[in-house]
Subunit: 217 residues, 2 copies
C-alpha cells in the first residue's frame, strides 16, 4: 500500500488520483479550488484546500513520506514552477509534473523533477500520426481487432519452452515479454529456448479471435 | 497530401495541427482567440479567428472537403457540443474530438463524432499505472533500455522466412508486425513461415544494445 500526493485536481490530476486510489493506494489531494477539493474527496483518502506554491502549506504535509508526488498544475506556470522547486527542496522521493509547454518542461527538469509529462501534446502527436501514419503501438492500442494482454502462464504451458508452445504458429500470437515476479523483473523479447515457469506472466499481442480461443481475453 | 481542419488551438489542438503540418499536410486552424491564431499561423497552412460554434463560420469552410476535422475545444463544453453537431450535420468525413469528461465524451459519440480522446485522463491513468504496475507498452515507451522500431527490411533478410532470420535467438529482438505497403496493410504477429519481401517494414521490439548492433536505431 503506497502513499501518494497529487497537487492539482484538474483533469490530469484527478485522473491520477482516482486511478491510484482504485489501485488500492493512499492518495492525498491538494487544490486551491474548494469546489474541486469537495468533488474529489469521496474518491481519495484525503483532500485539502491550499495554495501548494506556499512553503507553509507544503510543510504541513510530510513531503518526503510520499512514494511519489504528482504535480498537476497546468496554466498557472509560475505556481507550478514554485511548487516544483519546493517539492524538490523538501526532499520529495519521486516527482512527476505536467508541463504546459516545452519551455515549462525544461525548467521543471532543470529544477529536478524526475519525470515531466505532456498529456495534450502527446495525445496530439498520437492523433496526428493515427490520421496519417499509425505506429504499431498506436494501432494495437487503438485497434478493436488486436490487443496486448498479460496473463498468468497456464498450467499446460509451464515447463515448456516458447519454441515448444509455439503460440506464433498455432495461434498467431507474439510473446513480447515474460514477467517473473521472483526475479522482480520483466524480460522483454524472450528467446525461443526460454522455459515458462509457474507464476510467469506472459505478455502477448495477437488478434482478438485468437486471444479469445485461448480465453486470454 | 491531405487536408485537415483543427478547431481550437489549445495545447492539444496546436500539437495536432503542427504535427500534421510537419508531416507535410495542409492544415487550417480555427480559434476564436486572435492571439492564439497569430501564434500558430506560421506553423500551419492557414489560421482564422472565428467562433466555430456558429453555422455561418463553418459554412465559410468546405467541411466535407477535409480528410478529417479535429475538434479541440476543452472547457467550453457547450461550444464543443454545438460545433460537433454542426460538423456532423455538415458532412465532415471523419471527426476526432477531445472530451472534458466521460459524460461530455458520451454526448460527442452519440452526436456522431468518430473518435473521442481524453488526453489528460489517459495520461493520468498511464502515470498512475507506471507508478505502481507498469504495463509492458508503457515500459517500452518509457524505458531507456528498450525500443519499438520500424525499419525497412535489410537486403540480406529479403526472401528469408522469419524462422530463418531468427532475430529472437540471434539478437533477442521480437518481430511484432510486418507492414507491406503493396497490400496496404499491417500484418500483426506474423508467423515463423512468413517470408520477408523487399519493401517490407519490420516492426520489432528489443533492447537498445541489440537494436544498435543491427543499426536499427
Ligand atoms: N497554487 C496552486 N495550489 C493548488 N492548486 C492549484 C494552484 N494553482 C492551480 N491549482 C489547481 O491545479 C488544477 C489544474 O490546473 P489547471 O486547470 O490550470 O490546469 P490544466 O492543465 O488545464 O489541468 P488539466 O489539463 O489537468 O485539467 C486546478 O484545479 C487548479 O485549481
Ligand atoms: N467557440 C469557439 N470557437 C473557436 N475556438 C474556441 C471556441 N471555444 C473555445 N475555443 C478555443 O479552443 C481552445 C481550447 O480550449 P480550452 O483552452 O478551453 O481547452 P483545453 O481543453 O484546456 O485545451 P488544451 O488542453 O488543448 O490546452 C482555446 O484556444 C479556445 O480559444
Amino acid at each position: 500500500r503506497k502513499q501518494f500526493l497529487v497537487i492539482g485536481a484538474g483533469r490530469f490530476g484527478s485522473a491520477v488520483a482516482t486511478a491510484l486510489s482504485k489501485l488500492g493506494h493512499d492518495v492525498m489531494v491538494v487544490d486551491n479550488d474548494e469546489t474541486l477539493v469537495q468533488e474529489i474527496s469521496s474518491e481519495v483518502t484525503d483532500a485539502v484546500t491550499a495554495n501548494a506554491a506556499s512553503e507553509s502549506a507544503l510543510k504541513a504535509l510530510d513531503i518526503p513520506g510520499y512514494d511519489a508526488v504528482i504535480l498537476a498544475i497546468g496554466y498557472e506556470i509560475q505556481a507550478s514552477i514554485m511548487t516544483a522547486l519546493l517539492l524538490v527542496e523538501m526532499g520529495a522521493k519521486y516527482t512527476v509534473a505536467k508541463a504546459q509547454t516545452e519551455l515549462h518542461g525544461k525548467v521543471l527538469e532543470k529544477i529536478g523533477i524526475n519525470r515531466v509529462v505532456f498529456p495534450e501534446r502527446d495525445m496530439g502527436l498520437k492523433v496526428a500520426h493515427s490520421l496519417v501514419a499509425p505506429t504499431i503501438i498506436d494501432m494495437i492500442e487503438l485497434s478493436d481487432e488486436y490487443s496486448v494482454v498479460e496473463v498468468s502462464a497456464p498450467d499446460d504451458m509451464v515447463g515448456k519452452t516458447l519454441k515448444e508452445i509455439d503460440l506464433r504458429a498455432r495461434f498467431g500470437i507474439s510473446v513480447i515479454a515474460l514477467r517473473r515476479d521472483s526475479e522482480g523483473n520483466t524480460h522483454i523479447s524472450p528467446v525461443a529456448e526460454d522455459v515458462i515457469k509457474a507464476g510467469d506472466i506472459i505478455v502477448a499481442v495477437g488478434d482478438n479471435k485468437a486471444l479469445k480461443k485461448l480465453e486470454w481475453i
